[in-house]
């Protein structure tokens, strides 16, 4: 499904942030990426999506055999990749629902499908908003505009639910969420997840993994995955931190 091989990327001043990432994600899997601040976790999602602030120095990223790094950003998304950033961008004046509809229809056009009709879209929207316990105010607002941190994260998961991506890369989706919101968002992700899809979660804490059981846990440090293991690894990291891990 998603295959990342020896991915290296740097920022404009030449500083290399990713120094050779290798990650294989198969359908039905949940991968948790943990690591200290500044290790490159957020950079990884942005580089995969093609953020212009990063330069790919080498390696490959394939989604179902297609080289994502050679595709336009919107085509990467329409091929089935979704990223949720740590600090979702606010876009005042762009209505949340109109944006969602435009995004969904862009994907449908890419897949050779006709535009969704208003009735079906409304129904889909209502169903997903109900799943995430979102009230009607979200419809009227600009994209993430004036929303609290938690509201933004919930709005991101709404986008994920509607766009139905193959692989979702969720960067610190649990930050800024209170206990109830964490449960709702995690339930939403579990509901969206299926044996054909995969999720990569970036998190600092075990608490999200109490709700979303990871298949694998990886430790990213200094731009490389230095350790991988099962769900028990997250518990050990929570107890002991990162200093015990020896880098190869």
């Amino acid at each position: 499904m998603l295959s990342i091989k020896d991915l290296k990327a740097s920022i404009e001043d030449g500083t290399q942030i990713l120094k050779g990432i290798n990650l294989e994600v198969k359908p039905g899997e949940v991968h948790a990426i943990m690591g200290p601040n500044g290790s490159g976790k957020s950079t990884l999602s942005k580089v995969i999506m093609g953020h212009p602030a990063y330069h790919v120095d080498g390696g490959s990223v394939e989604l179902d055999g297609k080289n994502l790094l050679e595709m336009d950003i919107n085509d990467r998304a329409n091929s089935g990749l979704f990223i949720s950033t740590q600090y979702p961008t606010e876009i005042p004046g762009v209505n949340n629902v109109e944006f969602l509809k435009m995004a969904l229809n862009s994907k449908r056009a890419y897949l050779g499908l006709p535009e969704i009709n208003d009735g079906d879209f409304k129904k889909l929207c209502e169903e997903k908003m109900q799943l995430l316990e979102m009230d009607a105010r979200y419809r009227e607002r600009g994209v993430n505009d004036g929303m609290s941190g938690g509201e933004k994260k919930r709005n991101e998961i709404l986008q994920m639910a509607i766009l139905d991506p193959k692989v979702s890369f969720l960067d610190e989706t649990d930050s800024g969420l209170d206990i109830d919101a964490l449960r709702i968002v995690a339930n939403g992700i579990n509901h969206i997840m299926s044996p054909e899809k995969a999720v990569i979660l970036v998190t600092h804490y075990q608490r999200l993994l109490d709700y979303i059981k990871p298949t694998y846990v990886h430790v990213l440090r200094h731009g490389k995955i230095i350790l991988s293991g099962g769900p028990e690894l997250a518990l050990k990291l929570e107890e002991q931190g990162y200093d015990w891990i020896e880098e190869k």
Binding site: N74, V94, F99, S106, K107
Partner: protein, 335 residues
């Protein structure tokens, strides 16, 4: 002093005249005064032409009068509500509007379609106590080469005037506004949006006079400039002595969509009293790169993402307007 004498005294606009600093004055054709519409000497004409123009300094304010524009007078009675469309069918137009006490008026100005080298319109708008007036134009793209629109707005106590406009023509336009807030509680608001491309130009010159305490003025001007288009905003706020609690804000936001487009902004605050609040700001930039990334990372094409961001910027200009014909028309024009 009549308009012809005064305009001859002033001479043609020059760049060293601060009212015309940003304007391409060389594009103004030679004008023979009195060559415009044939004047009809009605009682109203006589009354208007008797006005003393010796203090008028703006060429564009004088030109329609000097060209014998026939005044169209419209009176809106006290306490009534009226919607009107104003259209000038000649090169030079003069409209006088008298809005009665506590009246409510919504006035849309339609384009003059005369394809002559220059057209100029003047609007004298007198707003009585407690009246609420919206004046707007949302003209679709036109090819008028040179257009002047001058507004002289005089406001009495507790009156409100909202001026809103979208300009997206292919020629050169200049909008000048003198707003006189002459009594407490008078409020004036100007919201303008230029969406220009090619070689088109839009120049705005505002003088807002706070002549009484507790008067309010708000200016928001936004520009989306592509091609080698140009815009300028010359906004002056003059707060007189004794005008306690006057409030004024001015904000100009510009997005430059091309290398060759440009904007010039000149805020002027002349404040002759201490207990007032006056602000001004100006931003110039490109479309927000993070917002672009966000939209395309959801599968939206770059072209559509740009369009969405430009529309959002444009919509925001008029979103705070109260529901009514102006808001409906302006937002409709942007859809």
């Amino acid at each position: 002093m009549d308009a012809v004498t005064r305009i001859k005294q002033l001479g043609m606009p020059r760049r060293n005249n601060e009212l015309w600093t940003f304007f391409p004055v060389a594009k103004i054709p030679a004008i023979e005064y009195g060559s415009g519409d044939a004047a009809t000497n009605t009682a109203t004409d006589a009354a208007t032409c008797d006005e003393d123009f010796s203090a008028e300094t703006d060429f564009a304010a004088l030109l329609p009068i000097a060209q014998n524009a026939r005044p169209m007078v419209q009176n809106i009675a006290d306490g009534t509500e009226e919607m009107a469309m104003l259209k000038c069918n000649n090169d030079f137009g003069h409209t006088v509007l008298n809005i009665g006490k506590s009246a409510r008026a919504s006035l849309e100005i339609l384009d003059n379609k005369v394809q002559h080298p220059i057209c100029a319109e003047r609007f004298d708008i007198n707003v009585d106590e407690g009246a609420d007036v919206e004046i707007f134009f949302a003209n679709p793209a036109n090819d008028l080469p040179l257009t002047f629109r001058h507004f002289r707005i005089t406001q009495a106590a507790n009156s409100t005037v909202r001026f809103s406009a979208i300009e997206r023509g292919n020629g050169i336009t200049r909008v000048s506004i003198d707003a006189l807030l002459n009594a407490p509680g008078a409020q004036f608001e100007a919201r303008t949006l230029n969406m220009l491309g090619g070689t088109s130009e839009s120049h705005h010159r505002l003088h807002i006079y706070h002549n009484a305490p507790e008067t309010t003025s708000v200016q928001l001007s936004r520009n989306l400039l592509d091609g080698s288009s140009r815009a300028s905003y010359d906004g002056s706020v003059i707060v007189g002595n004794g005008c306690t609690k006057a409030f004024s804000s001015q904000l100009v936001n510009t997005i430059l969509l091309s290398e060759d487009s440009s904007v010039s902004v000149k805020p002027v605050l002349k404040i002759y009293h201490d207990d007032v609040e006056c602000t001004h700001g100006n931003t110039v930039g490109e479309l927000d790169a993070e917002q672009m990334f966000y939209l395309v990372s959801r599968g939206i094409s770059e072209k559509n993402a740009r369009k969405m961001l430009m529309n959002a910027f444009a919509f925001d200009t008029f979103a705070p307007l109260p529901e009514g014909p102006a808001k409906k028309r302006l937002l409709q024009e942007l859809r």
